[in-house]
């Protein structure tokens, strides 16, 4: 990828007279299908992989170890139709754990990250803890949480929260720190209050960093759900995967993985959308 081709070319302003903003198209006019290029290539690529996968399955190469997409699809349907299935309970259990744990991480991570970025002394005080916990795999704490909080949702929320909160703190802090000092000088020069500088200069500048933290947090949170439930749980998607795995119900296990992956893709996509909204001022970079 190379950085070139800024879409709009500003024309020089002529004195006084009304200069209209004209935008000139780049030399090669982009073809219509270019707009759908990403979606198209992505879809074709995924379909290709699925077909190949199904072909190996149909050829009965590895039926026990790797079920094909159709078998997984069937397992998914069975999960919802089988009267003995507790899929809704599993989904809502994991969903609630995720919502509480991740939601808490977003709120706490944002507040702590902003405070650490804005007040140096706050950072000095909390840095050792953030570094300690961030560099420790939180999974090792699961047994402790189970002892403290039981095998119900509380221990899972704790794991999810601890997984997601640190990337959010660290990125938010970096975003606040990253503020262009020249912009702060301009604001000070115009007599802006600290509150206004924070709201109008620091925070908007930190948004891309914060959203990156949120996205990294999603991955950590999902890992937290599954791993915590894997170790000990009554219900949940992680529990479903664990049970299916140890009883060689590979298709069912993969169906569980589909839920997790789907949630991850959905949340990441949503955050990406939000991020793009905040980035509309950036000239587009094309490859």
């Amino acid at each position: 990828m190379s950085i070139k081709e800024v879409d709009t070319v500003p024309l020089p302003v002529t004195r006084g007279e009304a200069a209209r903003p004209r935008t000139r198209r780049s030399v090669v006019k982009p073809r219509r299908w270019k707009r759908y290029e990403a979606t198209l290539i992505g879809t074709v690529s995924v379909l290709g992989v699925l077909l190949t996968w199904q072909a190996t399955d149909s050829a009965k190469m590895l039926p026990l170890f790797l079920p094909g997409p159709i078998a997984i699809g069937r397992a998914l349907v069975t999960l919802f139709t089988d009267p003995r299935s507790e899929i809704w309970l599993d989904l809502s259990t994991s969903g609630q754990e995720l919502a509480v744990g991740y939601g808490g991480a977003v709120v706490v991570g944002l507040v702590v990250g902003i405070l650490m970025g804005w007040y140096t002394r706050f950072q000095y005080a909390l840095d050792p803890f953030v570094n300690f916990f961030y560099s420790t795999p939180r999974i090792v704490l699961i047994p402790v949480f189970i002892i403290w909080l039981g095998i119900d949702w509380q221990s899972k929320v704790a794991v999810i929260f601890l997984g997601a909160v640190f990337p959010i703190i660290i990125n938010t802090m970096a975003g606040v720190r990253n503020t262009d000092v020249a912009l702060i000088r301009v604001a000070r020069s115009f007599g802006a209050s600290e509150a206004l500088i924070f709201r109008r200069v620091v925070l908007p500048g930190a948004v891309p960093f914060i959203l990156t933290g949120f996205r990294l947090g999603v991955g950590h949170a999902l890992t937290g759900v599954i791993v915590a439930e894997y170790i000990a749980a009554v219900n949940g998607v992680g529990k479903l995967i664990a049970d299916a795995g140890v009883t060689f119900q590979m298709a069912k296990m993969f169906a569980g993985v589909v839920f997790i992956a789907g949630t991850g893709v959905l949340l990441t996509w949503l955050l990406q959308r939000i991020e793009n909204r905040f980035q509309s001022w950036r000239p587009q970079i094309k490859s």
């Binding site: 800024v6 709009t8 500003p10 020089p12 302003v13 002529t14 004195r15 006084g16 007279e17 009304a18 200069a19 209209r20 903003p21 262009d180 020249a182 912009l183 000088r185 301009v186 604001a187 000070r188 020069s189 115009f190 007599g191 802006a192 206004l196 109008r200 200069v201 908007p204 500048g205 905040f278 001022w281 950036r282 000239p283």
Partner: protein, 272 residues
């Protein structure tokens, strides 16, 4: 101190920095005495690193003075205020705001105008600096000259008692710079606001100012001042006027004395 009509009065102004890394006190400006009359356009030139920008920052109230006094309309300057507005060397525009949003940022920070009033007057100001039609453009879509127009409009919108300009055209190409000088004078002619302009460009200083102040090398103080007796309005052609060239020689000689480097090495391409 301060004769009748004096707007800005600087008396023995000293600005010092504490350099943390080398652990020493650094005197950037030492004993500047300067008076600027109401409606006067004053330019400060001096060798690079002479503390002229530091002095301007002190006038803006961004950095404290260590000694002496600095007053505007008789009031001591201790912090940034509504009576002053700065046009910065780097445009310092918020990249996520449009031209309109950036022009309004100054008054927004001051909290002096209602939003609708600011919007109304910002549009007029954008027209005045020749950016009509670009209200919704983002800074990254603008050329350097256009960004500096936004920078200027932002300062003008606050309607200050005194306009401070810190080498605003230094980063522009030669042609754009000349054009911007011309336009600045046109705009300035309408309001005749007291202005203090910092530059290292001798021609620019003479062309714009009623009075050019030459700073000594660091620590900066006033070395001499030259009253520019060229009638206004001034077209860009006055730069080739013999009188203009004579001023240029005079100022260059004065700066030359301040340079420790052998002047022959610097003279290439320089007048005089």
């Amino acid at each position: 101190m301060g004769g009748p009509g004096a707007k800005l009065v600087a008396t023995n102004v000293v600005v010092e920095y504490w350099l943390a890394r080398s652990e020493m006190l650094f005197t950037a400006v030492e004993g500047v005495d300067l008076e600027i009359a109401d409606g006067e356009f004053v330019a400060i030139v001096g060798p690079s690193g002479c503390g002229k920008t530091t002095f301007l920052n002190a006038v803006d109230g961004l950095i404290p003075i260590a000694d002496g006094s600095l007053t505007l309309d008789g009031r001591e300057i201790s912090s940034p205020g509504r009576d002053r507005a700065m046009v910065f060397q780097q445009p310092g525009l918020l990249p996520w705001r449009t031209v309109l949003g950036n022009v309004m940022f100054g008054v927004e920070a001051q909290g002096t105008m209602t939003k609708s009033e600011a919007l109304e007057r910002a549009k007029q100001q954008i027209e005045l600096v020749g950016l009509r039609g670009f209200e919704d453009a983002y800074p990254l879509e603008l050329s350097g000259g256009m960004q500096q127009r936004v920078n200027l409009a932002r300062a003008l919108l606050t309607d200050p008692e005194m306009l401070l300009l810190d080498e605003p055209f230094a980063a522009l190409d030669a042609q754009t710079r000349e054009l911007m000088q011309l336009e600045l004078l046109k705009i300035w002619n309408k309001s005749r606001k007291t202005a203090l302009f910092i530059t290292h460009d001798i021609k620019e200083a003479i062309y714009l100012a009623d009075r050019v102040i030459v700073f000594t090398k660091r620590p900066g103080r006033v070395k001499c001042e030259i009253r520019v007796d060229i009638p206004r309005p001034r077209s860009l052609r006055v730069k080739r006027d013999p009188k203009f060239v004579a001023y240029e020689d005079q100022i260059w000689e004065s700066i030359e004395e301040e340079l420790t480097v052998k002047p022959e090495r610097l003279l290439a391409g320089m007048p005089g």
